[in-house]
């Protein structure tokens, strides 16, 4: 990660149990371990009012760790997209007092937060913890297309093909970092590509 970043770059914390009766967790891959760490600090009946949506990813690890917490509801999804209808339905029927916890990759945290914002939850009330890959979701400011899992600097837009500088400037509404053409002033200038978001 860049040593010095900017204020719009999201800052992730460490999950901690919040007051409230209902707790909704959304996590992918190593994010499960953040939930397990929270469980160690949580009151005894905490997971009795919890709903966990987990997307294990390729390795299919950690599902058993979460099931062992005995949440009231547990769901294993193949991808964030397949979990989204369930998440939207849960949020639409929820009451004030529901607390949201997001853990795992930046892409997962960003997209789940996007759904929560649309449901009327303020981003400051959402607990987040980053675990796993630093690959970025990037929006091309020129064509507006989103490129998933960007690991290089610069990166090529998967939609319009422009070579983009991946900025730290981040939009919660779009759940994406901003990509801006890196050689707009002189297209013949091609900087070296480095793998930086791992």
């Amino acid at each position: 990660m860049a040593a010095k970043s900017i204020i719009s770059r999201p800052v992730y914390g460490t999950l901690s149990p919040q007051p409230g009766k209902h707790h909704l967790f959304i996590a992918d891959a190593e994010g499960a371990l953040a939930i397990a760490d929270l469980a160690a600090k949580a009151p005894a009946d905490f997971f009795g009012g919890a709903h966990i949506i987990f997307i294990p990813g390729r390795d299919s690890k950690y599902a058993d760790v979460l099931e062992a917490l005995k949440p009231a509801q547990f769901y294993l999804g193949h991808s964030f997209a397949s979990a989204l209808p369930r998440l939207k339905q849960t949020l639409a029927n929820a009451h004030m007092g529901l607390r949201l916890y997001l853990a795992g990759t930046e892409g997962l945290i960003g997209q789940a937060m996007q759904a929560a914002l649309e449901a009327g939850i303020d981003h400051t009330s959402i607990q987040t913890e980053h675990r796993g890959s630093l690959a970025r979701r990037m929006q091309c400011v020129h064509c507006k297309g989103i490129t998933e899992n960007v690991t290089t600097q610069p990166a090529t837009c998967s939609h319009c093909g422009l070579l983009l500088l991946v900025r730290d400037h981040y939009s919660r509404r779009l759940a994406a970092f901003q990509g801006v053409c890196i050689n707009a002033e002189d297209r013949s200038e091609i900087p070296p590509t480095e793998e930086v978001f791992r």
Binding site: Q18, P19, G20, K21, H22, L91, A92, A94, H95, M96, G97, L98, R99, A119, G120, I121, D122, T124, S125
Partner: protein, 321 residues
């Protein structure tokens, strides 16, 4: 970079007794023009010229923000207060010329809310009069829970019931009716915002229960004007203006500073907006902090005071004013 509000020259167009404690005052502009538009929850600071003394008290605007021909405020008589409400009740008549500030809103609706849940206690109903009128005109989703001592002291309860029917629930202390707060707070849809205005005990109770039940602080709004309290007289040195002044029993420190010709910025005069925050250069005595602006730490440090509502007891106080 000075802040503060513009003044409006108004004339009292009507004075209407509402019940044994509350009287309503209507103001129009002296030049016959429309008053500035305002938003539900806004207040004005009313200047009361009572002989030698000038008091400035904030009151919530309670009319509809859609009607700017007049401003209306409701004043509850406080027999033990510093005399502002008594002045309004006893000396202000239709035709009295007065000065009020431009409206300022420190208790604004969060218009993102899917639903607005309002809790009022006693005279704390006034900002909700304007907010419900504003929301009703836009088809906004709101629900008002209003607690009063007795039916006869339920200021505007009948009017609200008539306007909004089931969206208004009344609770009377003398009939032991009490809002089932935990149940109410647990049954609100996601995206609801909570607004509370009333006695400080009620505000504290509602905030505490909301936090315990998982309501994020951004969704809980409260109006907490502390009226300046009377107290023992004390002397103050204003270091920058090189003046020593006396604050009498019925005067606030801010009013005494203003009477000496020094004008700190202000908006609320109720200890919440932070504008008149003043540094203490030295003191020998005890502060009586009544504000909701400074932190506990600030209060303990003895380095700051909010002169609009706080007082001092002791031998000497020197302020950076």
């Amino acid at each position: 970079m000075s802040t503060g509000t513009t003044k409006l020259d108004v004339i009292v167009s009507d004075v209407v007794p509402v019940n044994e404690l509350v009287t309503r005052f209507h103001f129009r502009r002296r030049d016959g023009e429309l008053l500035p538009t305002f938003s539900g929850g806004a207040h004005v600071v009313v200047e009361m010229r009572d002989g030698e003394r000038t008091r400035l008290n904030p009151y919530s605007l309670m009319g509809s923000p859609l009607d700017t021909r007049e401003y209306t405020i409701s004043v509850r008589r406080d027999d033990a207060g510093r005399g502002g409400s008594l002045f309004m009740h006893r000396q202000v008549r239709p035709g009295t010329e007065m000065v009020v500030s431009y409206p300022v809103n420190l208790f604004s609706l969060d218009l993102r809310a899917r639903k607005h849940l309002m809790l009022a206690g006693g005279i704390g109903i006034t900002p909700f009069m304007a907010q419900t009128a504003q929301l009703a005109a836009e088809g906004g989703n709101f629900e008002l829970h209003y607690t009063c001592r007795t039916a006869s002291l339920g200021t505007y309860a009948d009017l609200l019931k008539e306007r909004y029917d089931r969206r208004v629930r009344l609770y009377h202390d003398d009939r032991d009716e009490r809002v089932d707060l935990d149940r109410l707070l647990s049954s609100q849809p996601l995206g609801t915002h909570l607004y509370v205005c009333g006695p400080s005990g009620m505000i504290g109770w509602v905030r505490e229960r909301a936090a315990a039940l998982g309501w994020p602080p951004e969704t809980v709004h409260f109006e907490h004007f502390a009226a300046p309290q009377p107290g023992a007289p004390f002397d103050v040195t204003l270091a920058l203006s090189d003046k020593t002044i006396s604050v009498d029993e019925q005067q606030s420190l801010l009013e005494a500073i203003e009477a000496a010709g020094v004008d700190p910025p202000y908006l609320c005069r109720g200890g919440v907006c932070g504008q008149c925050e003043t540094n203490v250069i030295s003191h020998d005595g005890k502060f009586i902090h009544n504000d909701h602006w400074l932190s506990e730490e600030d209060h303990r440090s003895g380095c700051k005071i909010m002169p609009c509502v706080s007082r001092f007891e002791g031998r000497s106080l020197v302020l950076e004013r």
